[in-house]
C-alpha cells in the first residue's frame, strides 16, 4: 500500500506541465482562437514527440507503458492548461480501444504523429477534433467501427467551449468493423470507463486552475481599501473550493489505479471520481467567477474558458445522474466491507 506518486511519474508530470507552460499559455490559446482554429499542429507534434498519445499503451506496441495513476497527473495538467488538442482522450480512451480491437497499424501511425484519431461513443456522441483526424472510431450499440475521415460525412456542431470542435459523424466507404457483439460491448464499456477517467482527471486540473486564478485575483484586487481576499466571505468561498478539489484528487487517483471494466466496484469508483471531480471543478469555476466580479464575465479573463470546458467534460462520458446510478447499483448491492476501499477485481471480472 503506497498512495504516493513515484519519482518517475512525478518527473513526467512536471515535464508535461513545463511543456504546456511554454507551449499552451493563455496567449497561445487566444491566438489560436483569433485564427478561428482549435488544433495546433505544432503543439501536437511536441506532445507526440514526448510519446504522450501512447502514454498508456504497452511498450510492446510503442507506448510508454505508464500506469493510469501516472497518467492522471498528466491529464490534470492538460486540464489545467485548457489544452485544446484531444491528447487525454486519445491516450486514455481511443488508442487503448484501438489496441484492444487489433488496429495496431493505425495506432502506429498515430504514435508516429502521422495521423490523429477521433471517437464517437453513446456517452460522447459528438466527435472531438474530427476535422484533423485521419479516422474516427465509432462505438455503437453492438459494434465498433473505424471510419476513414476521407469518406465520413462530418456535420459540425457548435460547442459552448470555443476549443471543442465537435461534429456528428456518419461513416462512409471503407469503414472497417473492428469488433461486434459481446466483445464490442465489453470494449465499449471499458472505453466509457476510460472516458470518465479522462474527464475526471482533466476536471481536477480545471478546478485547480480556477482556484489559482481566483486566489491571484483576490490577493491583488482591492475594494473598500483592502484586498478582497482579506474578506471572510471570499476566503470561505475559496476554501470550500479547495476542500472539494483536494478531497476529489485521491478519489481520481484511486480510480485511475483500477483496470477500467474490471467489475462493478471499479465502475463505482470511476463514477465517483468523475462525480467528485466534476462537482469540485464546477464549484471552483463558479467561485472564481464570483470572486472576479464583473471581470469574471469578460471574455478576456480565462475563467469562462474553464467553466465551459468543465461543463463539456461534466456532461459527456456520463452525466451526474448516470454516474450516481452506477455507484448506487454497486454500493447498495455489495455493502462494501472494511477491506473494500481498494477493490481488487480481476481485469476480466
Amino acid at each position: 500500500m503506497d498512495f504516493t506518486l513515484s519519482e518517475e511519474a512525478r518527473a513526467m508530470a512536471t515535464a508535461v506541465a513545463d511543456l504546456l507552460a511554454d507551449h499552451c499559455p493563455s496567449k497561445a490559446l487566444r491566438a489560436l482562437l483569433a485564427r478561428g482554429e482549435s488544433f495546433d499542429a505544432g503543439r501536437w507534434a511536441r506532445l507526440v514527440a514526448m510519446g504522450l498519445p501512447g502514454a498508456l499503451l504497452p511498450e510492446a506496441v510503442g507506448g510508454l507503458g505508464l500506469a493510469g495513476t501516472a497518467f492522471a497527473p498528466i491529464a490534470e495538467a492538460c486540464g489545467a492548461a485548457l489544452l485544446p488538442e484531444p491528447l487525454v482522450e486519445t491516450a486514455w480512451v481511443t488508442l487503448p480501444l484501438l489496441v484492444e480491437a487489433g488496429a495496431g497499424e493505425f495506432v502506429a501511425r498515430v504514435l508516429a504523429g502521422e495521423a490523429t484519431v477521433a471517437i464517437v461513443h453513446p456517452l460522447a456522441p459528438l466527435a472531438l477534433a474530427a476535422r484533423q483526424a485521419a479516422a474516427i472510431v465509432l462505438v455503437e450499440e453492438d459494434r465498433i467501427l473505424l471510419a476513414p475521415a476521407a469518406t465520413a460525412r462530418l456535420t459540425p456542431r457548435r460547442s459552448i467551449d470555443p476549443f471543442r470542435d465537435l461534429a456528428l459523424v456518419a461513416a462512409g466507404a471503407g469503414t472497417a468493423t473492428l469488433a461486434a457483439g459481446a466483445a464490442a460491448r465489453a470494449m465499449a464499456g471499458r472505453a466509457a470507463a476510460r472516458g470518465a477517467l479522462a474527464a475526471a482527471a482533466q476536471m481536477l486540473g480545471l478546478g485547480r486552475r480556477a482556484l489559482d486564478l481566483a486566489v491571484a485575483f483576490a490577493r491583488t484586487r482591492e475594494q473598500f481599501g483592502r484586498p478582497i481576499g482579506s474578506y471572510q466571505a471570499v476566503k470561505h468561498h475559496l476554501a470550500s473550493a479547495a476542500v472539494a478539489i483536494e478531497l476529489a484528487r485521491p478519489v481520481v487517483h484511486a480510480a485511475a489505479a483500477l483496470a477500467p471494466g474490471a467489475g462493478p466496484a471499479t465502475a463505482a469508483r470511476i463514477a465517483h471520481a468523475k462525480l467528485a471531480a466534476g462537482r469540485a471543478a464546477e464549484g471552483a469555476a463558479r467561485a472564481a467567477i464570483q470572486v472576479h466580479g464583473a471581470m469574471g464575465h469578460s471574455w478576456e479573463v480565462d475563467v469562462h474558458l474553464i467553466l465551459k470546458r468543465t461543463l463539456a467534460l461534466a456532461t459527456t462520458w456520463g452525466t451526474a445522474a448516470d454516474l450516481r446510478a452506477t455507484a448506487a447499483a454497486h454500493l447498495l448491492a455489495a455493502l462494501p466491507g472494511p477491506a473494500a476501499l481498494f477493490p481488487e477485481e480481476s481485469a476480466d471480472g
Binding site: I160, Q290, H297, E300, H304, L307, A320, A321
Partner: protein
C-alpha cells in the same frame, strides 16, 4: 387577504394577452448586445410597445404610461414573458433611471427625458462602475467640474451595460474635487455621442458585447443634466426609489416563464429522466413560484402603504441563486448534448452564463448578505 384576481384584473390580463398575441414578433429578435441591427430591432419593439401604451404600465399617462397599480404590472409581466416578448433593451432607463427621474427630476427634466425614454427614442446605458470601484461604488474618481452653465466630465467608467449602442448614459461624478467616498458626488446624464466620449466594447463570457468602457475626456454637458442637487448624487442613487428600483430589476414572470419551459423540456423527455434531475427541475419551478409569491406580497404591502428596504436584498439573493439552479437543471436534462450552443440548448446555455452573473451585478450577493445581516437582522458592522 384575498388571493384571487378580480374580474377587472382578469379582463386586463386578457387584454394584454390579446395585444401580445397580435404584436410579439414571430421569430426572436437578434440579440441587442451582439449587433447594431439587433439593437435597433429592439428599439423598434420599444416603439411598438409604446404605441400600444405598454411601455411602462405603472407610469403616469402624461409620460406614456397607464397609471396602473403594481398588481397589474405583475399581471402585465406574466403575459409579456409568457408571450415570449423580447427583452427590454431600455431596461436601464425604464427600471433604473426612470423611477429616480420621477422622484427627483424637475418638471422640465421629466418632460425632457421620460417621454423619449418611453418611446424608445433614447436608449440608456448605466455607468456605475469604475475600474477601481466595483462593489465599492463610492470609490468614484470621475469628475464633473462646474464651468458656468455646464459641467465638464472626465473619467473612466466600466461595465456599462448597453453602452456600446445606447444613446445616453447616467452615472455618478465627483462634483466636489475635495470630497471623499460618497460625499460630493452628483448624478449626471450624458449623451454618448458627444465629442470626448470614447466607448470601448467589452466582450463578455458569451462572446457578445453587452458592456463597454466609457472614457470621458473633458465632455461638456449642461448643468440641466444633473439630477437632484449638486453633491446629492449618492443619496439619490441609494435611496430606494420604491418598488421599481427595489424589485422590478428582475421580474418574477421572467423566471416563471423559464420554469415553464424547463418543466416542458422535462415532461417531453418523459420517464427517462433521472429522478434527481426531475427533482432539480421541480425545485427550480417551485422556487420561481416562491419568488413570484414574495413579490406579489411585497406589492400588496406597498399598495397598503408599506415600504421596501433591505427586503430587496433578500429577494435579490434568492432570485439570483435560483436562476442558476434553474438553468443548470436544464443542462442536466440535456445530458451529453448540454454543451451544444445551438437551437434550444443555446438558449439554456446563454441563460446559464447570464445567470452566473446574477450573484455579481446590482450589488454582489456578499454585499447583499451584509445588508440583510446589518439592516434587517441588526448585526453589528465590522
Amino acid at each position: 387577504m384575498r388571493l384571487s384576481y378580480s374580474p377587472e384584473q382578469r379582463a386586463f390580463r386578457a387584454e394584454v394577452r390579446a395585444w401580445m398575441a397580435a404584436h410579439v414578433p414571430a421569430a426572436p429578435l437578434p440579440s441587442f448586445d451582439a449587433s447594431r441591427a439587433g439593437f435597433e430591432a429592439h428599439r423598434a419593439w420599444e416603439r411598438t410597445l409604446s404605441e400600444g401604451r405598454w411601455g411602462m404600465v405603472t407610469w403616469p399617462e402624461a409620460y406614456g404610461g397607464r397609471g396602473l397599480d403594481l398588481i397589474r404590472w405583475l399581471i402585465f409581466e406574466e403575459e409579456y414573458w409568457a408571450a415570449g416578448a423580447p427583452s427590454r433593451v431600455n431596461q436601464n432607463g425604464i427600471f433604473l433611471l426612470g423611477p429616480t427621474l420621477m422622484e427627483h427630476g424637475s418638471a422640465a427634466q421629466k418632460a425632457r427625458f421620460l417621454p423619449a425614454m418611453a418611446r424608445g427614442e433614447e436608449i440608456w446605458a448605466q455607468a456605475w462602475s469604475e475600474p477601481q470601484a466595483g462593489s465599492d461604488l463610492a470609490a468614484v474618481r470621475a469628475r464633473a467640474v462646474r464651468d458656468g452653465e455646464d459641467y465638464r466630465l472626465s473619467g473612466h467608467k466600466i461595465w456599462s451595460s448597453r453602452a456600446v449602442f445606447a444613446d445616453w448614459a447616467f452615472g455618478l461624478f465627483r462634483s466636489d474635487a475635495t470630497s471623499e467616498r460618497h460625499h460630493g458626488l452628483s448624478l449626471v446624464l450624458f449623451p454618448l455621442d458627444l465629442p470626448g466620449v470614447t466607448r470601448r466594447p467589452i466582450r463578455q463570457i458569451d462572446g457578445e458585447t453587452g458592456f463597454a468602457e466609457i472614457v470621458l475626456e473633458d465632455v461638456r454637458v449642461p448643468a440641466f443634466n444633473r439630477l437632484g442637487a449638486e453633491g446629492e448624487g449618492w443619496r439619490i442613487c441609494m435611496a430606494t426609489a420604491g418598488f421599481e428600483r427595489g424589485l422590478m430589476l428582475r421580474s418574477p414572470a421572467r423566471f416563471q416563464a423559464a420554469a415553464r419551459r424547463l418543466l416542458a423540456l422535462c415532461a417531453r423527455q418523459g420517464a427517462g429522466v433521472a429522478a434527481a434531475t426531475r427533482d432539480a427541475v421541480v425545485e427550480a419551478a417551485m422556487d420561481a413560484e416562491a419568488y413570484a409569491l414574495a413579490i406579489y406580497a411585497a406589492a400588496s404591502r406597498l399598495q397598503a402603504g408599506g415600504r421596501i428596504g433591505a427586503e430587496a436584498s433578500l429577494t435579490k439573493i434568492f432570485w439570483s441563486e435560483m436562476d442558476i439552479r434553474l438553468r443548470r437543471a436544464a443542462l442536466d436534462l440535456l445530458g451529453p448534448l448540454a454543451e451544444l450552443d445551438e437551437g434550444e440548448g443555446a438558449d439554456w446555455l446563454d441563460g446559464w452564463l447570464f445567470a452566473l452573473a446574477g450573484p455579481v451585478y446590482a450589488g454582489t450577493n456578499e454585499i447583499q448578505r451584509n445588508i440583510v445581516a446589518e439592516r434587517m437582522l441588526g448585526l453589528p458592522k465590522g
